[in-house]
């Protein structure tokens, strides 16, 4: 039994990269060499973990570099891992057709991050949504007014420690 557990741990993280992602994985270190990043994989996508302070510069770089040309924001998402919040950007290149995941961790107490709306306009409502549901504040965002929740909503319902109000039938 114990042996089997060890054997499972020894297995590499699942790696199903396709040709484009492999090329991207090989190319990335050269492009983002100025920044403190770790390049990893998650299933079939390349993942770049970056520092929260550098997120905007890296995104700009990835968008403007001709070899990456990530001009399309697929998804901006916040994941609550209890001891830290992870902001995940799925980005795509409409010309080169490859996808990249950019991740950055922020603290759950006062999460704050540089907004990427100057890079991709499409981040606007995603960031407002993240601000609503997770309380992540994005600096330099045009307006972080509530999007999905009503004005004056207390708490951050997206987080895992949010206590759902008891629903009573009456």
């Amino acid at each position: 039994m114990a042996e089997k557990d060890k054997a499972e741990e020894a297995i590499e993280p699942i790696n199903r990269l396709d040709a484009k992602s492999i090329a991207l994985q090989a190319m990335l270190p050269g492009i983002v060499s100025d920044f403190k990043v770790t390049i990893n994989t998650a299933f079939d996508l390349v993942v770049v973990a970056v520092e929260p302070e550098e997120i905007k510069q890296i995104c700009l770089l990835l968008r403007d570099n001709d070899e990456t040309a990530f001009d399309y924001l697929l998804l901006l998402c916040v994941v609550d891992y209890e001891d830290y919040l992870q902001v995940v950007y799925h980005i795509y290149s409409t010309s080169l057709k490859h996808t990249l995941v950019v991740k950055t961790n922020v603290s759950p107490e006062e999460p704050s991050l540089e907004s990427v709306t100057p890079v991709w306009k499409g981040a606007d409502w995603y960031e407002r949504e993240a601000h609503d549901l997770f309380g992540v504040s994005f600096n330099a965002h045009p307006s972080l007014s509530p999007l999905l929740l009503y004005e004056g909503f207390e708490g951050f319902p997206g987080r895992r420690n949010y206590e759902m109000p008891e629903y009573k039938e009456w």
Binding site: C77, V88, W120, L148, G158
Partner: protein
């Protein structure tokens, strides 16, 4: 379009018009606060969230099998496409093999769903422009599709038919025969709508060069689906990153020229034709065999995260799912196509007329259940 200098000289007063959430043309509970100067729109403030049900949070508390029903309720006009993308996410993480027959039936039904959704769009777009007959024609044809769905899945809207590992049950015996006659009727109905509406002089005047979205703007905003293709960007997930068995069919991507309302309308109309062609090919190739790979009721996909993309009638849907190895997902996040498409509304509406606002919003083809989740 509007001579602004004249208005500057005149001392005009702006008026705030609150359009929605109970307006017949906002397609659900969408609210726009328009600042209008006469009939011209000066500023727009869109408000969403009236239908926010916290679907993504709900997913964290449900087991995988149950989540399929939540996805049904996101975009209530393309239920099967939604179910499919979630099932594919789980299948991809578990690396499940899907039986051939199930794949084919999935594709046939998804394309049928796409046709139904686009037919509804054509009808309601006609209503937005003021033509009432196309909507009747289109609802008639959509009704046939709905009864087809009822025969196959047992429900008209919330099907819960596509399951993790395959489909719920095999199709009825006369499925191929019924589909063939349905396709003939759909083609006929579509030609009627095309003749009645598409090249009508008034319709052209109302939609041509209205709400033009450039390719650059569409990409910046993350617009997807027919709205993006109308701007001349040939991106279709079924072609670029073929999933399921879409690489086996011969079909084209309709792309527009300038991305105005008419292009968005006609791209959808053309897409119905392409979908019908896919269905015909799939019906021809439909193999025999099993329809589901048996899985445990309490699925436990391996630890890991996965992002799956699919082409919905409204655009590109994505599911980002993180599994922690238990029977419930750790986090599910949907990329809602309508959400991104709706984001452009502010830029599109400014400096148009109130009457155009309705047409432009209609041409984006949004479903608020998906925007608000």
């Amino acid at each position: 379009m509007v001579d602004q200098d004249i208005n500057k000289k005149l001392d005009t007063v702006q008026m705030m018009v609150n359009m929605g959430p109970q307006h017949p043309s906002t397609h659900g509970v969408f609210r726009m606060v328009l600042a209008v100067d006469g009939e011209r729109i000066v500023d727009v403030e869109p408000h969403i969230g009236y239908l926010h049900r916290g679907s993504e949070k709900l997913c964290e508390g449900e087991i995988y099998v149950q989540i399929v029903t939540l996805f049904d309720r996101l975009d209530y006009l393309s239920n099967l496409n939604n179910e499919m993308v979630f099932c594919r996410a789980v299948e991809k993480l578990m690396e499940l093999e899907i039986p051939e027959r199930a794949e084919y039936i999935r594709v046939i039904l998804c394309e049928l769903n796409r046709v139904a959704s686009h037919l509804l769009f054509i009808g309601t777009f006609g209503l937005d422009v003021g033509a009432m007959t196309p909507s009747m024609y289109m609802f008639r044809d959509r009704e046939k599709i709905q009864s087809m769905f009822e025969a196959v899945t047992g429900a008209r809207m919330m099907h819960n038919y596509i399951r993790i590992g395959g489909i719920k049950n095999d199709v009825p015996d006369d499925f191929i025969h019924r589909m063939k006659s349905l396709i003939v009727e759909l083609k006929k109905g579509l030609e009627e709508a095309d003749k009645l509406l598409s090249f009508n002089e008034i319709f052209l005047a109302r939609t041509k060069n209205i709400g033009t979205m450039s390719a650059k703007m569409a990409i910046e905003y993350g617009v997807s689906g027919p709205s993006l293709r109308a701007s001349g960007v040939p991106i279709d997930i079924r072609k670029d990153h073929p999933y399921s068995i879409y690489d086996r069919f011969d079909f084209g991507i309709p792309i527009g020229e300038i991305g105005d309302c008419w292009d968005r309308y006609y791209v959808r109309l053309e897409e119905v034709r392409q979908s019908i062609s896919i269905m015909e090919q799939a019906l021809y190739q439909l193999p025999d065999g099993d329809t589901i790979t048996p899985t445990r009721f309490l699925l436990r996909p391996p630890k890991g995260e996965v992002y799956v993309r699919g082409e919905n009638p409204r655009g590109e849907i994505g599911v980002y799912m993180i599994s922690d190895g238990t029977d419930k997902p750790y986090r599910v996040k949907v990329r809602p196509p309508s959400f991104c498409n709706l984001m452009t509304i502010k830029d599109l509406l400014i400096d148009t007329y109130v009457a155009d606002a309705v047409v432009i919003l209609g041409s984006l083809d949004i479903v608020l259940g998906e925007v608000d989740r």
